[in-house]
Subunit: 115 residues, 2 copies
């Protein structure tokens, strides 16, 4: 079974609409990277109904540590908001991962709770 | 200038994480449909930084009326949640539109507020 995971920082003061837009940005960006590296993952995921899980993480530091841990073995996209609307300065908001087989990603992300 | 618009129902009792997942679903689905019909829209939108606007709408009926109005002239994807998690029965949650030139869509969506 394949899924896409998006992990969002809890420590940002942004609306739920802004969060949703950031998550969609992560979803599309991770999708496009995965389509190039693992087109077979993308096909299976779309056939399965494009399962997506949105998780939360406490801080930017924790999100960056996770990114450093997985970036060389798992296709993912770190999203930085340009601060044209709600944020006061450009900042990292979330991380999009995959689609990827559940067995490959759960060991890294199972400790995070649903947003 | 190109943008993607996602319009979400306000009258659903779901978490912000669930809203974000539905918006990402709409974003990917509308993207894939537009890629087939108007690949030139998709290329321009990605180059411009994939602008996304998340709006809210009062009721399901209003969302369906909007969908009926635009569906034959504008590429869009109506999203139905299967109710595996928070909803009690399968239901329509949101509508993904484009990417599309702003001048073609604003007349239909400018009355809706940001989520």
């Amino acid at each position: 079974m394949y899924k896409q995971i998006i992990i969002v920082r809890k420590d940002l003061d942004i609306t739920k609409g802004k969060i949703a837009a950031q998550v969609a940005h992560a979803s599309i960006s991770a999708y496009l990277k995965t389509e190039k590296k693992h087109p077979e993952y993308v096909s299976s995921w779309l056939e399965d109904g494009q399962k997506k899980i949105v998780l939360k993480i406490d801080t930017k530091q924790e999100l960056l540590e996770l990114f450093e841990t997985i970036k060389n073995r798992i296709t993912c996209a770190l999203i930085k908001d340009a601060a044209h609307t709600q944020l006061k300065k450009p900042d990292i908001t979330c991380l999009g991962i995959g689609p990827i087989p559940e067995t490959e990603i759960d060991k890294f992300t199972s400790k995070y709770k649903l947003l």
